[in-house]
């Protein structure tokens, strides 16, 4: 198992390299379609046109696009993500602070979404053929008609302002001081340093943004799980298990769920990737200091090095989540293990 998983990861990794090369080239070209001058935006009064030219040279923006790309790529290979035009700081430093926040958010969103989705899917399956199922089904269609950013706004209004149960700004309460940075992940750091107040506060701050993300995922998980359960339950081996006198509950948990989980896992893989996109707006609305906020800032400031780097990081994250889901899929699907 581990050997096959490693092989799979290795194959994923090898595939990821050309994908990332293409992605970065694509981003590079797209970003330079529009004539824009990010340099002058960040210059102080008193700067002269010569200063602008000099700075442009410093950032390499005066060269041809392929030349810029290869310079950027060369630096990337040495671990240098470039320098932010707006912040005048290394992009790597900016990203390294924002990245753990986004990963935490997506992890929480995925977990919540999967929990809600699986519970809902099982409930729908249990109520199959009844009016309740129809009602749940219709309401999931309704839920899916509202995009994440509107959920974010609605949640703030509802649970943040109208019934102020949960915080919705940033990652910690003002009264709570930041736990020492050990891993960069706030939850983990709070845990490792035994800062329960910080852990509680950080968890509370995660609820609404991750819920906004989860509401997008849960109905999909619900439906896929439900329909694959409905399909699985028709399989021969389920009939055969029934004919051996095994009870329905045991059939559901022991036989059907494991098989029905497979399409759900693949769905989560795809949607997990999409969820990183969802964080962009959600982070903006919840003032959550992750990659999304960095991205929106960078877009606003036309901060090309940051946009490039963040886009690339998003792709790495998507590929990583796909790889993780692949391994989970592999663990859940013995057929795949045997095949490879």
């Amino acid at each position: 198992m581990t050997r096959i998983a490693l092989q799979l990861l290795l194959r994923r990794l090898l595939l990821a390299i050309p994908i990332l090369l293409c992605v970065s080239a694509l981003v590079f070209v797209i970003l330079r379609l529009l004539p824009a001058d990010p340099i002058a935006m960040s210059l102080p009064p008193g700067a002269t046109p010569e200063d602008v030219e000099r700075l442009k040279r410093d950032f390499g923006l005066d060269r041809s696009i392929p030349a810029q790309y290869f310079i950027w790529l060369g630096k990337l290979l040495t671990g240098d993500l470039g320098t932010s035009i707006f912040f005048r700081r290394g992009v790597g430093e900016l990203v390294s602070r924002a990245l753990p926040a986004t990963i935490e958010l997506v992890a929480a969103g995925l977990t919540l979404g999967v929990i809600l989705g699986v519970a809902g899917g099982l409930a729908m399956f249990a109520k199959r053929g009844t009016a309740a199922e129809q009602a749940i089904d219709l309401s999931t269609t309704g839920l899916m008609a509202i995009p994440e950013f509107l959920w974010a706004i609605l949640l703030i209004l509802f649970l943040g302002v109208a019934f102020p149960l949960l915080p919705f700004i940033g990652r910690l309460d003002p009264a709570v001081t930041l736990p020492p940075t050990i891993t960069g992940f706030l939850l983990l750091d709070s845990l490792l340093s035994g800062r329960w107040d910080a852990l509680r506060s950080a968890l509370a701050h995660l609820v609404l943004p991750s819920l906004a993300l989860a509401i997008g995922l849960a109905p999909l998980v619900m439906r896929v799980l439900r329909s694959s359960l409905l399909e699985t339950i028709l399989e021969d081996y389920i009939t055969q298990a029934r004919l051996r006198g095994i009870g329905e509950r045991r059939i559901l948990i022991g036989h059907a769920l494991k098989n029905a989980a497979l399409p759900t896992i693949s769905l989560i893989g795809v949607q997990g990737g999409f969820m990183f996109g969802g964080t962009v707006l959600v982070e903006m609305i919840f003032a959550y200091p992750g990659l999304g906020n960095l991205m929106v800032d960078a877009v606003r400031n036309h901060d090309l090095p940051v946009i490039q780097a963040v886009a690339l990081i998003y792709c790495v994250l998507v590929l990583a989540i796909n790889a993780i889901v692949d391994v989970i899929y592999l663990a859940a699907n013995p057929k795949l293990r045997a095949a490879s």
Partner: protein, 516 residues
């Protein structure tokens, strides 16, 4: 939308989470302990205060660092690290300054003239590492030839050419004194991570884009601030800032939408202020296309009802302006007005053969969301112009694209633009916005060049001010600028906090206090 059951289920789940004990009482405790929480819209790009000249975060820097001079709430200059200043020659090339002797940095070391020299001469002149991380002070203070340290409390600045605005720059962007010994010891990167200044607060915690936690500096030369601990929540989204103050999660919220500020002000327990500040909003205009003729530009200016815009979008708080400067600032000409008059506009357009039936076509661009109500104002102006016979085709423009077009001189006839100037010095208004040599000016009119070239080196302060007033008025009369109004600042606070409002829009928690 949601059926009742799932709503209830959701509600139940969340109240369970809320029951974990999330923070309402924690907030109350915090307030009792003398803590202040502020929702602020922007983050510092870096904690190196000399690096970037951004008006939006000047208040943040001013909590940790000190400037040579500062301003009173009414924007008049006020001694800070410098107690006295004056030219020691008659050409305006040597400026002597006396520094306070009781200033200590957060690490306990005293601030001396060496630090002053380091901040305004050595750092800006230091060689630039590759990658262009040049300090903005190297542009701003380029005319400083040297700084002579006479004594720990006395320095003389030598300029290569006169810099009459130097005194104003002492309380403007990027001009902060940083501890030479500390920066040299730990390096710039570490300094940006753990900044030390001589300001009223020490930075104790910083999460990029999320929060800044400040603790009062006991040995602050201006006295320890009244509020010992300040948390600044960085909340970019205006609706979230509204929600934050409305739910009492913060004590003060800065820059909420005008209408929300009005609404929140009416809620018991909250106070809101809506005031015009020294930042201005104007139309950056060019002589391109339909604006080639002076009369069209003047007509366009006459056609805009600034009062109505102010009423519609800024609760009437956005003071209309006739020249590109805030009213009451030194550069604003006395007794000058540029009236709203549709008749005049129609008459002027008639001269060039246009009218409501036969409109002149122009292009008009505006950012969308870069400044408060920018796009709505643009749309309102389009409607006003339409009435007199100017048919403006409006398009959105990104700030970066605006800059590119500005440099390439391909801007459309008019663009909505906002200009910040906390110093209120006229050089930072017309001097940058109208001087054809400035990289910020859109109107490149030859007759303006010599006027501003002379003013930039005018060392007689009275003549300099008078000159700018005249230049501003001249530009308005010739149709070289279409200023609109002073930008509005909103602050919403809980009643327990005493806010000090600055006419230049500063938000300085060191000046706040809590009512007992």
């Amino acid at each position: 939308m949601m059926d009742r059951r799932s709503l209830i289920a959701r509600g139940a789940g969340l109240s369970a989470l809320a029951a974990l004990g999330v923070p309402r009482d924690a907030l109350a405790q915090a307030a009792a302990k003398g803590q202040l929480t502020l929702a602020y819209p922007a983050d510092v790009p870096t904690w190196d205060p000399n690096a970037r000249s951004l008006a939006a975060v000047q208040s943040l820097y001013k909590t940790v660092f000190d400037q040579p001079l500062t301003q009173n709430p009414d924007i008049s200059p006020k001694p800070a690290l410098i107690t006295k200043w004056g030219y020691v020659d008659d050409k305006g090339l040597s400026l002597g300054v006396d520094l306070r002797d009781d200033v200590v940095f957060h690490d306990g070391t005293p601030m001396t003239a060496a630090d002053f020299r380091y901040s305004f001469f050595e750092r800006p002149r230091a060689p630039v590492p590759e990658g262009g991380r040049r300090l903005d002070t190297s542009f701003l203070w380029r005319r400083v030839k040297d700084i002579e340290v006479v004594s720990p409390t006395r320095a003389i600045i030598h300029f290569s050419e006169p810099m009459p605005s130097a005194v104003a720059w002492f309380y403007f962007l990027c001009s902060y004194v940083v501890p030479k010994a500390y920066v040299e010891r730990v390096g710039v990167d570490e300094f940006a991570r753990k900044p030390i200044g001589s300001g009223p607060y020490k930075l104790v915690e910083y999460q990029q884009g999320a929060r800044i936690v400040l603790e009062a500096h006991d040995k602050y030369w201006g006295g320890k601030p009244a509020i010992p601990r300040v948390t600044i929540e960085l909340v970019r989204d205006p609706t979230a800032r509204v929600a934050a103050i409305e739910s009492r999660r913060v004590d003060v919220s800065i820059d909420v939408p005008i209408r929300e500020a009005q609404r929140l002000g009416a809620i018991s327990g909250l106070t809101s202020s809506i005031d015009a500040i020294t930042d201005i909003t104007l139309l950056q205009i060019t002589k391109n296309g339909g604006f080639a003729d002076d009369r069209v530009r003047l007509a366009a200016h006459h056609a805009i009802n600034k009062e109505a815009i102010s009423k519609a979008f800024f609760a009437g708080a956005a003071t209309p302006i006739a020249v590109p400067a805030a009213k009451g600032t030194p550069g604003y000409p006395l007794n000058f007005d540029f009236p709203f008059s549709e008749e005049k506009a129609i008459a002027l357009l008639k001269e060039v053969g246009h009218g409501p039936q036969n409109p002149i076509n122009i292009k008009f661009s505006s950012t969308n969301g870069a400044f408060p109500s920018d796009f709505e104002v643009a749309r309102a102006i389009v409607a006003m112009w339409k009435k007199v016979g100017i048919n403006a085709e409006l398009e959105t423009v990104e700030p970066s694209t605006y800059q590119e077009r500005l440099r390439a001189k391909t801007l459309p006839e008019a663009t909505v633009f906002s200009w910040g100037n906390t110093s209120a010095d006229p050089e930072m208004y017309g001097g940058y916005l109208l001087d054809p040599k400035s990289i910020f000016s859109a109107m490149k009119s030859d007759d303006l060049g010599p006027i501003f070239a002379a003013l930039l080196v005018e060392t007689n302060e009275e003549k300099r001010i008078a000159g700018y007033r005249a230049a501003h008025q001249f530009a308005a009369e010739k149709g070289y600028t279409i200023p609109l109004y002073q930008t509005v600042k909103t602050i919403v606070s809980q009643n327990g906090v005493n806010i000090v409002k600055y006419a230049n829009g500063w938000t300085l928690p060191q000046t706040y206090s809590q009512k007992s």
